[in-house]
Subunit: 490 residues, 2 copies
């Protein structure tokens, strides 16, 4: 992979100087086009590769040549406690740039898997799982318009040794050389083997392999790649025709899980009171157990307007220690959230280990309101089934317990509840024109919900459709499901 | 303070029920008015006081009665690592609500000072300093339109014992009673004495003292306070006349520190190269020392357009370990930032212990562009001198090393640099119409800058005005100042 590369010669100082002027100008113009385009997107540079091959220098140069106000450099060191207490990719998600902005990531998500595999004796299986996670992450970003530019900076063994010696002799660059680096040179061949595997397998986004020994041309190559790729992607987006929207029709098996629910199920007052007290007591002690075991719990509530989400959440939260949980209501995204990947705002809300987060509506908005209203294109919502499964898989792999409830209320019962709301002064505000509009799309919603229950239902994070025409019955069902799951998992 | 309170009787169930309907309706209407008003502001509830006096119950009820989508509950437990590695008030600042939103804080910033003083034997002096910090925090929020509603929930000793027994017997509430609480009852009288001091001294915002024994009336009292205070503040803001802007004139002593600078100072190439290399090497090893000692460093760069801030920052950052520093360029605030207290976005950027943060422009925008352009009212910028001094005082008290540089360029030299920028293709973008407009206000800027250098210049976080007509001279001056300061402080 690197053999031809090592024979490439660097350009001379004079040629470098002659080309820099034009390239800097083009860089600035490209960055401005990116920021100002209506079809703007985020750009992530990844600099991985051999220590001493010029990753830091390249980052410095780009910061120098472009408008640094819209760029952020991220050098990921040992994770902090808040980072360790969340899934590994949380910190990378937190840092993703928004449309028109650029982030420069040093080593990023490539460094740890390689070190673990080559040096710390992690198994091939673990290395493979790391690769799967990287691919899922990059795929989700790329499929939603983030341009990822990945550079692998290479040096042959002799040049690496020379370079490390040079760097460590200079007071200003010696920090770039850690004691580990000398050790790693001893493992040079193993690192190269591991790197080749990583480069070949992490192919959701193509790599540009750079000869780090060529101090002049390596910088121009990175800059030219940015100019070319950004303009190309902008041309495509700006010239794309507005996609035709297809009519709402089943995307999955079409299996009518909602129709199978017996909405007539109900529960009377006294039995409800007894069960509620019992389940809340169980829930409280299980939540304490989860806290002791430092497991986080994520509860997702979805359902039509007036299905009783708020009431269910209240019965749960009353049984929890106020210091250990948060309820997150999801409204329409802010401008800043809209300028990011749609999962960004949910990643930002992932609880610390040992805490409980209750989502009143969630990332499933992508597959519900965004699909119905056309806020997501057909391609976007179609790929979102996988993206959301990957997202929940990441949480689950970290040890989160995820439960998802769909509260299903009948069309007539919803009408009664709307009418009731209109008559109670302190509930009137809960009813908006949008609720009536959503009601008009009732049948479409049943189709898209069935798709969600079909395609985002897995053994480890299943959906629980709950018959909710009787509020008391629904609350007890939810609590029982939750208590049983926690008993099983803890 | 509490004697009369203990004799107040609770209202009966029937009366409570009769009043709740009207109060819930008014609560919702008030919250909607708050959200929709053009003069909207943030609201913070603080619930402090005796354990068992109903803080949690009141928070539950408010979440129930109002629209929870615009409310957030914060129960501050043991600080996480990321919180401990920053000034104490960082986590409170991070959580302040934006205009139209409400946060409910349990115990908040009152719990730790009281415990430390009564139980952990902290000195009176420490307790006093804690009180000063609380007052500064609340004053800064209040003066910039945040409505803080503070409730002290009281119980007499016998009622507290009864209440703790009752809570601990119920499976759902037993978590509210920690083993500490029983210990604390033994110190009841000491806690009351400390509480009275805290209530009396933390008087930037008035308290409402609530008899926690009255389970019905305590809820209504809290709700009524919110309704009354929010509407009162909205009435005031909505009816206020637009303030007249006064002409730009010295607000401080009028001392012309900028005029005293000898802008002709310069430095030649070879000497510059030598000094630069030497200072960068020093800076690198000092930055490593700061990292080992886990001291954070904050560098603030301000100066007219084209004064050379970027060039200075580059000479510094090149001498730092890329994993240990961030450069933060401050542009115009986003919509979300504008809806928060102006210091919020800077608090969010405070570095972890052991890290370096370089601000290219900063919170001084409040006293520069916002004063000049009238984005801040006269009252707002006038109080900002103190607020900014308090802010930097908090950072310094935590152990941050703060250096502030003003790069002063002459009016003619600025003109030359503007003209030069126009001719270099990859620098043209740096020059905007705004730069020319700012130049037209040159004399006004000299006045407001001198005010900043006068009123925000303290021994522990002094301003360093730097003569910058010669870029090389300025860079060496900045580096020397920084190196000397670090040598001294570390």
């Amino acid at each position: 992979m690197f053999d031809n590369l090592e024979n490439q010669e660097d350009i001379g100082k004079a040629e470098f100087k002659a080309r820099v002027l034009a390239i800097r100008t083009e860089l600035i113009l490209t960055q401005q086009r990116l920021r100002n385009s209506e079809k703007s997107f985020p750009v992530i540079f990844v600099f991985a590769g051999v220590d001493g091959a010029g990753k830091h220098e390249t980052v410095d140069v780009l910061n120098d040549w472009m408008d640094a106000r819209w760029m952020e450099t991220h050098a990921y060191t040992k994770p902090t406690e808040e980072e360790r207490m969340r899934p590994e990719f949380w910190r990378y998600w937190r840092d993703i740039p928004q449309n028109g902005e650029i982030s420069l990531c040093l080593s990023a998500w490539y460094s740890r898997p390689l070190l673990n595999y080559v040096k710390k004796g992690h198994s091939k299986g673990t290395f493979k799982r790391d690769i799967v996670e990287i691919n899922e992450f990059e795929k989700t970003l790329k499929a939603n318009r983030t341009l990822i530019l990945k550079f692998w900076m290479h040096l042959d063994k002799k040049k690496q040794l020379d370079r490390l010696e040079y760097l460590s002799k200079n007071a200003l660059t010696s920090w770039q050389v850690k004691s580990d680096d000398w050790e790693n040179v001893g493992l040079y061949e193993d690192f190269i083997k591991g790197s080749i595997k990583l480069i070949e397998k992490c192919d959701e986004v193509p790599w540009t392999i750079i000869n780090g020994a060529n101090e002049n041309s390596r910088q121009l190559e990175v800059a030219e790649t940015f100019i070319k790729q950004v303009n190309k992607q902008l041309d495509i987006y700006e010239n794309a025709e507005k996609p035709q929207k297809v009519a709402i029709a089943p995307f999955g098996s079409g299996h009518d899980r909602l129709g199978e629910l017996d909405l007539k199920q109900s529960l009377k007052g006294k039995l409800y009171d007894e069960k509620l007290a019992e389940l809340q007591a169980d829930l409280f002690s299980l939540s304490q157990k989860a806290h002791r075991k430092q497991r986080s719990i994520i509860l997702v509530f979805e359902g039509a307007d007036a299905a009783g989400k708020g009431g269910c959440i209240k019965r749960i939260s009353r049984a929890l220690d106020a210091r250990q949980y948060d309820v997150q209501s999801i409204a329409a995204p802010t401008k800043e959230e809209l300028a990011h990947n749609y999962l960004w705002r949910f990643w930002n809300e992932i609880p610390l280990d040992g805490r409980i987060k209750i989502f009143d509506r969630s990332w499933y908005g992508r597959l519900l309101v965004e699909r119905i209203e056309g806020f997501a294109t057909d391609v976007e919502w179609q790929q979102a089934f996988d993206e959301i499964n990957d997202f929940e898989g990441d949480l689950q792999a970290h040890g989160c317990i995820i439960l998802k409830f769909w509260l299903q209320v009948g069309k007539d019962e919803q009408y009664n509840r709307f009418k009731e709301r209109e008559t109670i002064p302190y509930k009137k505000w809960k009813l908006t024109d949008e609720d009536w509009r959503n009601r008009d799309r009732w049948d479409d919603y049943q189709i898209v919900i069935n798709d969600v229950l079909d395609l985002c239902h897995t053994k480890v994070h299943p959906w629980h459709p709950i018959a909710s025409n009787c509020k008391k019955y629904a609350r007890i069902e939810v609590l029982e499901t939750l208590v049983n799951r926690l008993k099983n998992d803890l």
